[in-house]
């Protein structure tokens, strides 16, 4: 995305708000087309790009703006680059966050045809809320990410609720406050809900929060964590704590997640924050990514493929936006 001052015409790649020369608000420069004007085949590995060879491209849009782009496939000069969308419910969208969450969020929604937000929709947002810790620990969805999602949704004039639930002794109120998410909720005039205090409705083996059942769309908003199925895990917060503990005694977590997915499949979508994520040892790692889809388990698999460098088969998962190999990095290295 490029940002331009309409008075002096200077252009920035960084999402700043005001021109320091004119003090005018910058406008976003929308572009439809990207043409390849330079290609270099890279034959050496680096920590950010362990798979090689790859192709480093210079792209140029119809406004004459130029930027760098990586591709695993060879491209030719003057070739137009396009990113087709998909309406497949199993598709996972991958995009790069380049400082601007808003741009990335808009892009992944555009890449997923089936994920249409209609005016008046009732949306329950489910951020990761597991610890009363500051945002930089990356335990919880970041306030900046939630804020950008709310800004995006508010433009669609929808009814939003934000919920979470604690499955341990830490009250969800403590997590929502320390994480900074409370400030964002209040900024948007939303009172976060403790789903544990909502009514639960029995559906088969599950006791599902009424807030989830009453929503037109449940927007799972996890922060991804390496070595964990962070997106799917977060969905468990839609059932009651007792129900979860009881089922866990009998079944694997994966089986419970599948049940929840099945029960709410038509109304679940996931937009996952993977900009800076937690590694298994709790240290954080920059990935600069956003992932989205309707199938949480697929999204977790794609994330694992990107970060774990293991031989995980994701061939049957339709990918839109960036290719998994393009964004794969040696994430185990700090």
């Amino acid at each position: 995305m490029f940002y331009q001052c309409q008075k002096c015409n200077r252009i920035w790649n960084y999402p700043i708000k005001k021109c320091p020369y004119c003090f005018e608000d910058l406008i976003e420069m929308k572009s439809e087309k990207a043409k390849v004007i330079g290609v270099s085949k890279v034959n050496i590995p680096t920590l950010l790009h362990p798979k090689f060879p790859y192709y480093a491209l210079i792209l140029e849009d119809e406004n004459g703006n130029k930027w760098a782009h990586k591709s695993m496939k060879e491209k030719s000069i003057n070739e137009e680059l396009s990113f087709p969308s998909s309406s497949d419910k199993n598709a996972v969208a991958i995009w790069r966050i380049k400082y601007d969450f808003s741009e990335a969020i808009e892009k992944v929604f555009n890449l997923l045809d089936g994920l249409t937000i209609k005016e008046g929709m009732k949306i329950l947002i489910l951020p990761t809320l597991v610890s009363p810790s500051h945002a930089y620990f990356r335990d919880n969805t970041s306030p900046e990410f939630l804020d950008a999602v709310l800004n995006f949704l508010n433009e669609k004039k929808v009814n939003i609720k934000i919920g979470g639930q604690s499955f341990d002794d830490i009250p969800v109120e403590a997590s929502v406050q320390r994480s900074g998410l409370l400030d964002v909720c209040l900024k948007h005039k939303i009172t976060p809900l403790d789903l544990a205090k909502s009514a639960f409705v029995k559906q088969g083996k599950l006791e599902i929060s009424e807030e989830a059942l009453n929503a037109d769309l449940i927007l799972n908003l996890p922060i991804m964590k390496m070595g964990r199925a962070a997106a799917a895990e977060n969905l468990l917060k839609l059932i009651s704590k007792n129900n979860y503990l009881g089922l866990k005694y009998l079944d694997s977590e994966e089986a419970i997640i599948k049940e929840v997915n099945q029960a709410l499949a038509d109304k679940i979508a996931v937009v996952a924050e993977a900009d800076i994520v937690q590694r298994p040892d709790k240290f954080t790692k920059f990935l600069g990514l956003i992932l989205a889809g309707r199938n949480n388990l697929n999204l977790d698999k794609v994330f694992e493929k990107i970060t774990a460098n293991k031989n995980i088969d994701i061939e049957n998962i339709p990918l839109v936006g960036r290719e998994a190999e393009e964004v794969q990095q040696n994430a185990e290295r700090l």
């Binding site: 790649n13 004007i37 270099s40 680096t46 920590l47 950010l48 990586k70 966050i97 600069g288």
Partner: protein, 366 residues
């Protein structure tokens, strides 16, 4: 300056050795030094990553004088010199730079060096320094018709020069065109032999208000955007042009008056483009200049007699001061087999990143 190589001394030892040589050469001791300007971006591993180097240097030299750190990655040495020249109230200033950067697997070292480039927008898209420069070179070559054979001549020249420089990594190890042209492609079209050599090392310069036989008569500094591809012109380096203009205006000479120069050949393509940006030749004619032989030892204006970054080695921040070391020694007639005949004017050109910060200094033998 120290020998440029892969020795595993700590960063401060490179700095110390270079400083000692400079003091001896100037017939001074640390008591004569009133301020230090230091530049360095390392040190990567070995548990010695130190961000309070000014205090470390105070300890090392047992002094309480002002010490300023001026980091500007590969352009750090030049930026430190430019800064020192503008500090008033000091008689003798030690300008110092050192790096111990090459101390791990190349992926890790490259990652450290890449901290001099933009990460979120460019590096994530596969832009390494060779890649940025390969793409800039493509645009240049497309516009002006230069070829990879032209770049091979630059690599050959600088390796021939380095073979004569005892402090160069490739001292007494000349190469040939065949090897250069057949070296592996790193980032197309640039080959391994188009890339400079990351090494460890240190360099030091003393600037003084006292009379000296070598004077700095021009000093220019300019910057450009970190994001490489949305600059005004992606076939040239605007910052070099601006810094050169400042330096030549101060020196009151033209580029054609330069007798010997050290250019920032981080990639052979950068050296060729810089011939034009520095005004040695008109735009699009850089390839004719290298083919003319004028830039080789024995030519009209030998360039990179030290071997350059390409073959002497490139210890990031120390490079800019190592260039001054070579030019000062050339002007003083101390370069032995690679001595240029009676040079009067010398020039150094030091770049940070892919053209993001540039200093140009002009020297006169008086």
């Amino acid at each position: 300056m120290t020998k440029f190589d892969y020795s595993q001394k700590p960063w401060w030892q490179f700095a110390y050795e270079a400083a000692l040589e400079a003091l001896e050469d100037a017939k001074m001791t640390m008591s004569d030094i009133e301020a230090i300007v230091f530049s360095g971006m390392s040190s990567a591993a070995g548990g010695e990553h130190q961000t309070h180097k000014v205090s470390f240097l105070s300890d090392l030299f047992k002094t309480n004088i002002p010490i300023i750190e001026v980091p500007s990655v590969c352009g750090g040495g030049g930026a430190a010199l430019w800064t020192a020249l503008r500090l008033s109230g000091f008689k003798n200033i030690l300008v110092l730079a050192s790096e111990k950067l090459v101390d791990n697997q190349s992926e890790v070292v490259v990652d450290w060096i890449l901290s001099a480039a933009e990460k979120v927008i460019e590096q994530t898209e596969g832009m390494l320094f060779p890649t940025q420069n390969a793409l800039l070179w493509q645009k240049y070559a497309e516009k002006y018709g230069a070829t990879m054979d032209d770049l091979a001549l630059i690599a050959l020249k600088n390796h021939q020069h380095a073979a004569l420089n005892p402090k160069a990594y490739f001292f007494q190890r000349p190469t040939d065109l065949e090897k250069i042209k057949n070296s592996p492609i790193v980032s197309s079209p640039l080959r391994l032999m188009d890339c400079s050599l990351s090494v460890n090392g240190g360099a030091a310069v003393i600037v003084s208000t006292e009379e000296s036989d070598v004077k700095i008569i021009g000093s220019g500094f300019a910057t450009d955007y970190l994001l490489t591809f949305n600059r005004e012109d992606i076939t040239h380096f605007k910052a070099t042009r601006l810094a050169a203009k400042q330096a030549f205006e101060q020196a009151k000479i033209t580029p054609q008056g330069i007798n010997v120069a050290e250019l920032h050949d981080a990639f052979t393509s950068v050296e060729l483009i810089s011939y034009e940006d520095l005004g040695f030749v008109e735009e699009g004619k850089g390839n004719e200049l290298i083919k003319s032989g004028k830039l080789n030892l024995g030519g009209e204006m030998p360039i990179n007699t030290s071997g350059g970054l390409k073959a002497k080695g490139h210890p990031i921040s120390a490079t800019g001061l190592a260039q001054v070391y070579e030019i000062a020694n050339q002007l003083r007639g101390r370069c032995g087999e690679r001595q240029v005949k009676s040079p009067r004017y010398g020039l150094t050109h030091n770049i940070g990143g892919a053209g993001g910060s540039v200093t140009v200094h002009i020297f006169e033998k008086v």
